[in-house]
């Protein structure tokens, strides 16, 4: 109630507002402007209304077909790498040492892939997988496996997925490790006293306590993999054919390859919107989970529990009862 009212404080926000206006709002409006028009070069533009958007969402057109196919590939890619990186990250975090000099060594080794620039990662795997001079490609072929990511779509997918797992599992592992470190020793001691098996400890203590960091990990990995461009572009260039062409690669092809600014602008807006929506869903889920925790801490035992279980995505990862 006795809060000081001082509207002049808005002036303090002004610099940020200006910076954001020039760096984000104006470029974005340019894109919005492009998305409504068609161009044939020479800086000549023709009004097209929502035509590009209609085409984009219609699979029977060339643009729509390409967009929806790449979107499908992208979603599939994100699901696959999440399904691999999250459990693998948890396993890595669980098997890391808790104390001693080995902790620092593990952290450094885990952090290394994260420090390598995207295009370098791509180049590393591009060479690594080559059947003629690449260590992996040559070895696999020498073992009698017909591996060639340039000509075989499955091989290309495997290469791109393995590369992403190599590059980013560390992130999930480090986040999980931080979550694990925050569990007080008393929990493990109590579990020992209660005769809990290793699996029961994981289920009853470690997984619930990693809940928050896992949400962050899933969010980060989903966003990043959904926006992936550089690594698969360097390795496969989106091929063979269109088999590893993700949305961002398609976008660059349309914008810079064909110079279809209108189509590309419409595509990038829709692409942006999808990412925003997914971000928003994650953010809501996470803050709700946090708010629920706060309510729990403050509420008296007499209050009725709310059915919030549906808001905890991690319960989906929870193993079935009775396996232990």
């Amino acid at each position: 109630m006795d809060k000081t009212v001082n509207q002049k404080a808005w002036f303090l926000v002004l610099p940020v507002f200006l910076v954001v206006a020039f760096s984000a709002v104006l470029p974005l409006m340019t894109v919005v402007n492009y998305s409504m028009q068609d161009t044939f070069g020479n800086n000549q533009f023709f009004w097209n209304g929502v035509g590009w958007f209609k085409e984009l969402l219609d699979p029977s057109t060339d643009l729509g077909g390409r967009f929806l196919a790449s979107l499908g590939r992208n979603l599939f890619f994100s699901m696959v790498i999440l399904a691999i990186e999250v459990p693998l990250g948890i396993v890595v975090a669980l098997s890391m040492p808790r104390q001693g000099w080995t902790v620092a060594a593990c952290l450094v080794i885990l952090a290394l892939p994260l420090l390598i620039p995207w295009n370098v990662v791509g180049t590393i795997w591009q060479i690594f997988g080559r059947p003629d001079i690449g260590l992996m490609g040559y070895t696999l072929n020498a073992m009698g496996l017909d591996y060639n990511y340039v000509s075989n779509a499955v091989d290309a997918w495997i290469t791109v997925i393995v590369m992403d797992v190599w590059h980013w599992t560390s992130l999930v592992a480090l986040l999980c490790y931080a979550g694990l470190k925050s569990i007080p020793e008393a929990y493990y001691q109590a579990a020992q006293i209660d005769g809990a098996s290793r699996w029961a400890v994981f289920k009853a203590i470690q997984l619930p306590k990693m809940n928050r960091v896992l949400l962050i990990a899933v969010l980060l990995r989903f966003m990043d993999s959904f926006m992936i461009y550089t690594e698969p572009f360097v390795v496969t260039g989106g091929g063979p054919g269109n088999s590893t062409t993700f949305v961002s690669i398609e976008l660059v092809k349309i914008a810079l390859g064909q110079f279809d600014l209108g189509k590309a602008a419409a595509l990038s807006l829709v692409y942006n919107l999808i990412i925003l929506i997914v971000c928003w869903i994650f953010y809501t889920v996470m803050t709700n989970a946090g708010a629920e925790r706060k309510v729990q801490a403050e509420s008296e035992p007499a209050t009725e529990p709310k059915p919030l279980a549906a808001l905890k995505p991690v319960t989906a990862l929870k193993p079935k009862e009775g396996v232990a």
Partner: protein, 361 residues
């Protein structure tokens, strides 16, 4: 349910080769009888939690053996030891309901479902947790959570002992009383051996029928609350138990007399064989020293202040450098800031190097 014997048990966090003075738990041999209510009392860092964790198996002792009913269980892991322990801060499995939390120790040991339900219902009833059994355990207050932890400790009927590691630290004082009486009642009802670690003497004296006092990694005395009060075996026990603690004064003791400065205090027993070269002190509880008007033959002391505790007043006095607390009888005042001290000879104890010396009759 079992008798627990500790045989020459010791633990050092620095390894077995560390000098014995640095041991967190110095060699101890003692027996905890089946069905007893024990309190392990001592200041922070005296080794009581170490002793508890050694018994439960969280820590493997550097030396010695632990026997349950004569059987050596030292190498066994905590899971195989059949012991329950409740920790200082509530440990809750927060994806489970209160009932599932209580059932967890039984479920892990493959107890049949009907038996689990029966035990959970019983413990829920004893701890007043019945209304919450089907509720998520995260949505509860700290004391309800600690009750769940207590419940998990008590739910197994076949444990050798239940160990409590300062379990009421996080609980409000009023609830503390309730829970402590509840634990006492549970002890009578369930016939379990309970070992209760605390640094709070009231808690120890009200809970236990045997109090084990620890100091600097050593068990210095084990006895009933009355024994600890009347006959502290170590100056530390005298000082630690009672409020204010026992007065400890350096003195010269010969026969039936103790000399402090030039004054003589009469003793009830004769002390002729005191070890030579030992540090001799007398100990007397404030309750057995009266501050009266100065008179010849009485030890004279300077009054620092008088603490009025309501039902009793204690005079804080000084003889030379030594500080003494003495009972100030009703109506006692001092005109010149000095008082005479009258000791009750039956309650003056003699200590040689901090250990109680039994005098001859």
């Amino acid at each position: 349910m079992a008798r627990i014997d500790l045989v020459d048990l010791a633990h050092s966090y620095g390894g077995n080769d560390a000098p014995q003075e640095s041991f967190a738990l110095k060699p101890v041999t003692m027996t905890w009888r089946q069905g007893g209510a024990y309190a392990l009392l001592g200041p922070s860092g005296c080794g009581k939690t170490t002793l508890l964790n050694v018994i439960s198996g969280i820590i493997t002792p550097s030396r010695g053996k632990i026997l349950f009913d004569g059987q050596d269980i030292t190498p066994l892991s905590t899971q195989k030891r059949n012991i329950a322990q409740v920790f200082q801060f509530p440990v809750i499995y927060d994806t489970m309901t209160v009932g599932q939390n209580l059932a967890f120790p039984l479920k892990n040991r493959g107890v049949p479902k009907a038996e689990i339900d029966k035990r959970v219902a019983e413990i829920g009833r004893l701890l007043d947790l019945e209304p919450y059994l089907n509720r998520k355990a995260t949505r509860l207050t700290a004391d309800a959570k600690q009750k769940i932890s207590l419940g998990r400790g008590l739910v197994r009927s076949d444990v050798a002992a239940v160990l409590f590691d300062e379990p009421l630290t996080v609980i409000d004082p009023e609830l503390k009383w309730q829970l402590r009486s509840k634990l006492k009642a549970l002890h009578r009802e369930l016939d379990l051996t309970m070992i209760y670690v605390t640094h709070d003497q009231t808690e120890a004296l009200t809970f236990a029928d045997t109090v084990v006092v620890m100091h600097d990694g050593r068990v210095v005395q084990s006895g009933t609350p009355a024994e600890l009060f009347d006959k502290p075996a170590h100056t530390f026990v005298g000082y630690f138990i009672g409020s204010p603690g026992m007065n400890i004064l350096p003195a010269e003791v010969r026969g039936r007399e103790a000399r402090i400065g030039g004054n003589v205090i009469a003793l009830n027993r004769s002390y002729d064989n005191l070890p030579a070269g030992a540090k001799i002190e007398i100990g007397v509880r404030p309750e057995f020293v009266d501050a009266v008007a100065p008179a010849p033959g009485l030890l004279s002391a300077k009054i620092d202040r008088i603490d009025d505790l309501g039902r009793i007043r204690f005079a804080r006095v000084r003889i030379g450098e030594a500080k003494i607390a003495a009972r100030a009888p009703a109506g006692f005042t001092s005109a010149d800031g000095t008082a005479g001290l009258r000791f009750d000879p039956a309650h003056v104890h003699v200590y040689a190097d901090s250990l109680l010396v039994e005098g001859a009759a």
